[in-house]
Every structure is written in structure tokens, then in C-alpha cells.
């Protein structure tokens, strides 16, 4: 019994390592075949439109709500210490450092990432990818790389929008609804948020998450068995794996970036 469990555990670990290896190789190939995408930038623009704009509404709405919740909870806590005036700083720092990059990437993964997997998987299942290769056009260069760069560009932009909406939500609840002083809300925010330390680090995070999510989504689609079950399984795996990857990478990056100063 124990031996069997150990064996299956070992098998799964080996399998996982193999897949990570394949995915890394896939990532290298994307970079190798990225030339076309940059020479023909409209290919990327089209994909930014498809995946970025698709996630826009959900990002804006989610950002607003998260900011409003931050306003409420932050006020509750700060009031105990009599420092409600620091609300602006708290809302902005939470968003810029953590919630913006992480939540925007999670939303992007479940909205655009899963769609990317399904699209590429279906293209493979219906032989569109083989057809392209037989037309002497490299599918990595023509299909995969533009989607990758579109994701890598979209995620930081969406993250910025998420944070802006969040700050606006916090302002609505904190200042307009509860009545925290408007002047101190903004001035505390301005004083509390450092460009290099907070904003740049937040953007680096969202860039890394963007790379992780799109590589996982494209790899799962390209690797999906060419059947209906194969594609639906791959879509689920994209959401699960990219969510875990985002949270794991967030921990690592946070540990390196914010060591308390």
C-alpha cells in the first residue's frame, strides 16, 4: 500500500518535472521565433485586442470592488489606532505592491489564458496548425509568439488599470462615503508610495506573472490531445497551474523585493 502510494507519488513528480522541462523548451522556442512578431507588430496588436480587451471589463469592475473593500477594512483597522488619515497610503500600497499584480494576473489567467488554451487546442484538434506548417509557415512564429507578447504586454497594462480603479474605489468609500479627509487621503498616498520601491517592483511582478500565465496557457493549448476532452482538460489545467504559479512566484518575488526598509 505504502509502496504503491510512494510509487505513484514518484511517478507524478517525474511527470511534473518532464512537463516543466517541455514547457521551458517551449518558452525558449517562443523567444527564438519572436522575430516575426516584432517585424509585423500588427499581429501582436490584434492579439492584445483579443485577449486584453476581453479581460478589460472584469479587471475594471474587480479593481473597483477590491478598492472599495480595502477602503472599508482599512478604515476599520486604522481607526483603532487613530490613524484614519493613512487610509490613502494603505489602499495604494496594498494595490500597487500585491493585490493589483496578483489579482489582475489571476483574472487574466481565468479569462484570457483559458481562452488562449482553448483556441490553440482547437486549432490543433482541427488540424489548422498542421495545415499552417504544411504551408511552410512556422506556427510558433505566426500563432504562438504574437499571443505570448500580447499577454506579456497586456498583463502589466491591465494591472495598472486594476490599481487605478482600486484607488478610485478606496477613495469612493473612504472619502466620499465615510468622510476621511480628502486632502490627507491623497497626500498620505503620495508620501507613502515610492516610485522605485513600490511601483516599479509591482510592475516587475506583473510582467513576470504575464510571462508565466501566457507560457502556461499557450503550452497547454499546443500540448493538448487533439480531442474535445483533451482541450477541455487543458483549459482547466491552465487556470489551476497559472493560479498556483502566480501565487508561488509572488511569494518568491516579494521575499526578494520587499525586505523591510
Amino acid at each position: 500500500m505504502i509502496v504503491e502510494n510512494l510509487r505513484s507519488l514518484g511517478h507524478r513528480i517525474v511527470n511534473t518535472v518532464w512537463r516543466i522541462g517541455y514547457a521551458s523548451r517551449f518558452f525558449m522556442l517562443i523567444l527564438l521565433y519572436s522575430g516575426t512578431s516584432f517585424r509585423r507588430f500588427h499581429l501582436i496588436i490584434k492579439e492584445i485586442f483579443a485577449s486584453g480587451v476581453m479581460s478589460l471589463i472584469i479587471i475594471l469592475v474587480a479593481g473597483l470592488f477590491v478598492g472599495m473593500v480595502l477602503g472599508l477594512q482599512g478604515y476599520e483597522t486604522l481607526k483603532r489606532y487613530g490613524s484614519e488619515s493613512a487610509l490613502g497610503s494603505l489602499v495604494a500600497l496594498s494595490l500597487v505592491r500585491e493585490l493589483g499584480p496578483v489579482l489582475a494576473a489571476l483574472l487574466f489567467a481565468s479569462r484570457a489564458g483559458s481562452a488562449m488554451t482553448a483556441e490553440i487546442g482547437l486549432m490543433k484538434a482541427t488540424e489548422q496548425i498542421s495545415a499552417m506548417a504544411l504551408m511552410a509557415i512556422n506556427p510558433m512564429a505566426r500563432l504562438v509568439a504574437p499571443r505570448f507578447w500580447a499577454g506579456v504586454i497586456s498583463v502589466p497594462l491591465l494591472t495598472a488599470l486594476f490599481s487605478v480603479m482600486g484607488v478610485f474605489g478606496g477613495y469612493m468609500v473612504g472619502v466620499v462615503l465615510i468622510g476621511v479627509d480628502q486632502g490627507s487621503f491623497w497626500s498620505q498616498m503620495q508620501a507613502g508610495v515610492d516610485f522605485r520601491y513600490d511601483i516599479v517592483n509591482g510592475m516587475i511582478k506583473s510582467f513576470v506573472f504575464g510571462v508565466a500565465v501566457t507560457v502556461i496557457a499557450l503550452f497547454e493549448g499546443y500540448d493538448a490531445p487533439p480531442t474535445a476532452e483533451g482541450v477541455s482538460g487543458a483549459t482547466t489545467r491552465t487556470v489551476v497551474q497559472s493560479s498556483l504559479a502566480i501565487l508561488f512566484l509572488d511569494f518568491i518575488l516579494t521575499a526578494f523585493m520587499f525586505q523591510g526598509e
Partner: protein
Amino acid sequence: MSSQALVEIRDVHFGYDSRLILKGANLTFPKGKVIAVMGGSGSGKTTLLQLIAGALKPSSGYVKVDGQVIHKLDHKDLFRMRRRMGMLFQFGALFTDMSVYDNVAFQMREHTDLPEEMIRDLVLMKLHAVGLRGTHHLMPAELSGGMARRVALARTVALDPTLIMYDEPFTGLDPISLSVVANLIRRLNDALGATSVVVTHDVQESLKIVDYIYFIADGVVAAEGTPDEIRASDMPFVHQFMHGEIDGPVPFHYPSGDYGQDLNLRPDR
């Protein structure tokens, strides 16, 4: 004839994993002809097309196209060779995220520097040749099966290939679309001066349009001949295939153990 051959397949062996699918196939496709390749499902017809296109490598033997051994070409030369080939996939494989127009224009835009006005004229000419000029603004999902197949046909010949391969072009078509597509295959071949290979199950329809027929069974060419020779043939294999008989040299039963034993019947009862 061999100097006139566009494709020569010589003693090709190929297997996925360890199971051999092709065991010494020999076929010759002369220039300008339409050739049918027939055989049961799983007999390796698609595999054969993939070998010609260089998507797979034979484990021994070779495929020559226009005098060049396909599996010896490097990546660049292989891609150059593929530009002269067109392949129609079983279900068309149209790009679902592009309109009919963009599908047909795709290779022209990728492989040539033609100005957009000229591409427009060419696309409309190709669509006109398959009778579907009026559909250029539609998306593939808006087409019927027969129309999608014809659009795919227009896309396949977009760059006037010298070798056109069709993988079961008649599957799932109603009888009218079927003979429309069959006649298009013949007409396009002759108009372009190309060579065509049609992989199909449809014996009756293809006998009308092709110049030569190969039957593949058990990894080798089991029979071959012109349509007249095939019609006159009394080979049991050809007979079974032509008339769709259920059992014959191609067995109905997948190899299996003793039926009685599988049902737990005792021989002594």
C-alpha cells in the same frame, strides 16, 4: 516514365513506435496526372501524405519530389519545397479566426510581397474558380460542409502548387457537393498543370476523375492500375473494395481469440 515522375516513393518503411504501418511502399506519381490512393481506415494513407510533405521521416527507403529526397532536405529547403505543395486536410482545416477572404489570402500575404490590390484580385479569382466568390466576407463557421471544403480547396491552390494532396476530400459531403468537389479536383489540376494525389475511400467517384489508382493494404501496394484496369480487375481485394463487401481479404473481425472461449463456452457442451 520515371524522368517524368514528380513523386517517387521507393521501398518506404515507416512505423509509429514499433508497429510498422508502411512496409515497403512503392508508388510513382507522374507529372500532370491525378492519382488516387485507396485503402481501408488505418492503412496508412494519411501517413503516406505526411511522408511526402516531410512531416514524417521514413525509417528506410525514400520519397523523392521533383528529384529531391525529402527527408534529406534541411529545414529551409524543406520549407521551400512545401511552398510548391498544397494539402487539403480531411475537414478543410480552415483558419476559424479568419474570414474566407483572409484564409485564401493567407499564403499570398505570408510568402509574397504582392500589393494588397493584386492579392485581392487573386483571391477573388481563386474563389471564383470554386464557385464561391460571393462568400469572401463570411467566416468559416457560416459555411456549409461542402462550401467549406471548396474554400479550403481555393486556399490549397492559392500559390499555384505543383503538387496538390487531398486527404479524404469527399468525407461527409452530400452526393452533389461530392461530385462538385471531385470535378474541381480534376479541373484545377489540369488548369494549373499540377499533379494531384487524392486519398479516398470513394471508389466510384474517384474512378471517374483520376488517371491511376493505387490500393494500399498491409503496408504495401496491393493493387494498382488505370480506372479501366481496376474496373476489369478480378483481384479479390479490389473486388471487395469496389463493391463494399463486408468480409473478404480485408477481414471484418479485428484479430481476436477464440469466440467460444471468450464467451466461456466449454467445447464439450
